[in-house]
């Protein structure tokens, strides 16, 4: 459990990081950005990831924009290098984005939350990562900068499959903008141990401008479940509708099977978690 050899480089700013990425890629190397390292370092230790050059973004945390957490009108804007813990403790989120800070308690353990970054988690694209679910729930826009300039990736176009996202290997995610607030929203999950990757997790919102049902752990990437969202649109909010919504989601998905749970068990968990999350969202002031 020692990584293969790699060279280490410290980026001074975003353009420098982009330049280093291109420079090493052009030289035939396999460069990789490192921020909190909470996923990358274990993968390197198992030699499942073998970058030949690591470009450390740590210095960029000196740039206030890279770690800021702020409201910008109706949006919540988070710098790419903000840590889970900083978001968990942030006081400026407002009721529309309270679900974001509350969701952080589900992210690993305190040491992981203290090092891991928002952009790192979203770019890693784990199918159960809380940040990926939040991105779909709150219409996030992922801001990526690369040799071709800056582009904005809507969450709906971000997650493609197992650990596959729309961010290119020569790009740096500098910011994540959550464009839709939802005061009646909740995220909940099930794992056999506290702090583990969820077997299944669910994020929902009950809002005047539309309902959302997002699931993790039931497909190669986090997904919205339109069939379940349609149920929510079709009746008055309340425990019966929530149970119906959970059942519709369970019906609609085609989950994988592994030691953590069979496909049937994951369906069943999805039903439970969606129902519970909807109840929580409702109690927090979601649509009546």
């Amino acid at each position: 459990m020692k990584p293969a050899a790699f060279s280490y480089h410290r980026a001074h700013d975003v353009p420098d990081a982009i330049g280093l990425l291109s420079e090493f890629a052009d030289a035939g190397e396999d460069p990789k950005l490192i921020a909190g390292g909470q996923s990358l370092v274990p993968m390197m230790n198992f030699r499942l990831a073998r970058p030949t050059a690591l470009i450390d973004l740590g210095t960029l945390r000196r740039d206030p924009g890279m770690r800021s957490i702020r409201r910008d009108g109706a949006e919540l804007v988070i710098g790419g290098l903000a840590t889970h813990r900083e978001v968990e403790l942030a006081r400026c989120l407002g009721p529309e984005f309270e679900v974001v800070s509350q969701a952080m308690r589900w992210v690993g353990h305190l040491p992981i939350r203290s090092r891991g970054t928002v952009a790192g988690s979203i770019v890693h694209g784990d199918a159960t990562a809380e940040w990926c679910l939040l991105a779909l729930l709150l219409d996030a826009v992922i801001v990526a900068e690369g040799p071709g300039g800056r582009r904005q990736i809507p969450a709906g176009e971000m997650f493609h499959g197992y650990y596959a996202t729309a961010v290119e290997s020569d790009e740096v995610v500098t910011q994540v903008r959550f464009t839709r607030g939802a005061s009646g929203a909740a995220l909940t999950e099930f794992a056999r141990r506290h702090g583990d990757f969820a077997t299944v997790d669910a994020a929902v919102s009950l809002d005047a401008d539309g309902n959302r049902v997002v699931l993790g752990g039931v497909a190669p990437a986090p997904i919205r479940v339109p069939e379940a969202e349609a149920v929510l649109a079709g009746g008055p909010a309340g425990p019966e509708l929530f149970a119906e919504c959970g059942a519709a989601a369970a019906e609609a998905i085609d989950p994988p099977e592994d030691a953590a749970g069979s496909a049937a068990y994951r369906r069943r968990l999805a039903r439970t978690l969606i129902t519970e999350a909807l109840q929580q969202a409702w109690e927090k002031g979601g649509r009546r």
Binding site: M1, K2, P3, A4, A5, P42, F46, R47, F190, R192, R193, H194, G195, D196, F197, A259, G261, S262, Y265, R268, L269, T272, T275, E276
Partner: protein, 800 residues
Amino acid sequence: MTGPRVDGPRGRWVGASVPRREDPRLLTGRGRFVDDIRMHGMLHAGFVRATVAHGRLVGVDLSAVREIGGVVAAYTADDLDLGDIVALLDRPPEEFVPTAMPVLARDKVRFVGEPVAIVIGCDPYVVEDGVEAAVVDYEPLDAVVSEETAFAQQAPLVHEEAPGNVLLDVSMFDTPGVDEAFRAAAGDGCVIDLVSRSGRQNALPLETRGVIASWDDRDDQLLVQTCSQVPHQVRTLLARSLGMQERSVRVTVPDMGGGFGQKCVVGREEIAVAAAARRLDRPVKWIEDRREALTAAFLAREQRYRTRAAFDAEGRITAVDADIVCDMGAYSCYPFTAGIEPLMASAEMPGVYKVPAYRVRARAMTTNKAPTAPYRGVSRPQYVMAMERVMDRAARELGLDPVEIRRRNLITEFPYTGINNVTYDPGTYRETLDLAEGVLRDEGWCHLRDGATEQGRHIGIGYSCFSERTGYGSEAFAKRKMQVVPGFDISEIRMDTSGSVVVTSGTMNHGQSHETTLAQIVADRLGLDPGKVKLRQGDTERIAYGWGTFASRSATIGGSAVSVAADRLAEVVRTIGAYLLETRPDNVRLDGAGGVEQVDDPARRLSFEDIADVAYLRSHLLPKGSEPALSATASFDVAGDGTFSNATHAVVVEADPGTGRIRILRYACVEDCGVVINPKVVDGQCRGGIAQGIAGALFEEITYAENGEPSAASFIDYLVPTAAEIPDISVEHLETPSTLTENGAKGVGEGGTIGAPAAVLNAINDALRHTGVSLESTPVHPQSVLAALDSAAQEASNAS
């Protein structure tokens, strides 16, 4: 809590919760573990490990390994030419098949992770590069991974010499009356027939295995610094495998971060590293990483019991008939052999109950999985689980309360010689059950459980009653017919000119607080402050031989040896003191304050310093014929069948109808380990053991695919529970002093782990009582619980 409490003999220190003397060092990062040790010129080792579960070794090509910069050497089995590890039993060939475990795989590999070659380099990173560069060709063979594949006709053989993949097959008991009892029970009573299984676990010491070996020309000796529970056994086997005189090997053990049995056997890696160090004449270190620890270290626990039990109409058990298969994995461990688990289960299964007729057959099966070592509890968690499930099932069949059926069957008169020909010394089997039941009743748990169904909650209560043989002396071990028979222990004690004492014990602390508890014993025996007592362990040079720490033996056997040695030293001190006070020896006693005083005139006293001053620095003043040494040695062995601790565990669980998660609402342990030397230490042993038992009941398992690939190579897949999953655990002590040990203590190292799986599984099944489903395998996966709840809910809604 109120209830019978038998107070054991206590001294000033024994019986007190003296703060752990090892804690200041360990808690401030000043402990010294194997990996903290660095030696001049030290190299690092790693192992090329088998990637297939079963296959012939066609070729091992290390040429690319040796070309990597920083790699110093790479060896195969042929290069090192070491003696195999062979553990033997004195049993006939139809009962036991001896097999060999080569230090590095030769001819064939038998599990994923088996060491095939050793790579030595300048740092662990280079070593891992080297390991990757090895080219190993296998001719794959079908893997044996289950009872079905192992016992099938034409099954591939893990060891050619072991037909049917059976290493041990013993039918230890078939007493008269078994069949008659079943016939009678079928007519008037009940017969329980259940198959229970426990998953394969890793004992999981926080500190993985590790070793540093170095050659010392001046001492003409190989120094092996390792983390082992049994330093002398490592020395013996190392010397034999390397073909050296035993005096040319010294094994030392620094601080250890747990062992739980995984380190009470000798690892092949230790021997390979020692051989490499000898050959290279450089210190070589190997620290096992977590992936190796999970896949290639000794595993444990995987067993299957088919238990048939007969009961009369009053709920009295009339016979037990058990068929037991223990999946020992690829090799027999040294010194215990693959027989340890099936023999333990056969000998002890009737446990705390009066069983009038008993039949048992137990087999050790060999498979293409990592081999096993005796993990904390050793078969007892499994047979206790089987017996306790039998009790609950029979209670249900007969309409009895689960506590009541236990009361009718528990041994209550001692000494009691069971059907298994084991004599149980006095314990509090009935009293601990009564107290545990009282806890749940008084706190309202029984009421909550009874009313839960109406509220749509699924709450269950489970008990387990068990005893645990501790202080296995050589007589008890000899009955298992091991060729290497553990049992006694030696202690040596010295007093220096400052009146302080150094005591050496053949036991090996790896978390059990020996530095505190053995010092408490010595302090009482000599009448001095425990701060003046220093314990030494973990150095084969200090005493002639020792058996280390396993099987809950340290307080009972090691503590007794320490007691006797301290008494002998006290006698020496009193004799010299009497001479110097110019009175008779029987007119002198220890004064409890680090000296001796005259019985008829306590004002006349001498401190230990005074006496030591004469003994060492002015020995011309000693009485004629007395030796100028304040030291003593003692050995101790437990006679007969040993001494039995006992306990009752009581658990309340709730099953979540939405996820199947089992939450433990209450965990109560009432135990009796004889004289409690240090209550806080005993509490810790109980709680830690129970945590490991809960881990086995609900979380941890390493499964193997059909091709022999293990499922868990990291903590993502191996679900060791955290503090968040383990509930608060209350521990209550009763004390029935053992008459077989010097200090009245019985062992307490394993009880928690033994009792927990049974109690948790009983509670889960009680929570599912309305479903018609019974779960008999651990760990219990929440999806099984949820499936049971869902199908019952479905049936209920269909019915209405």
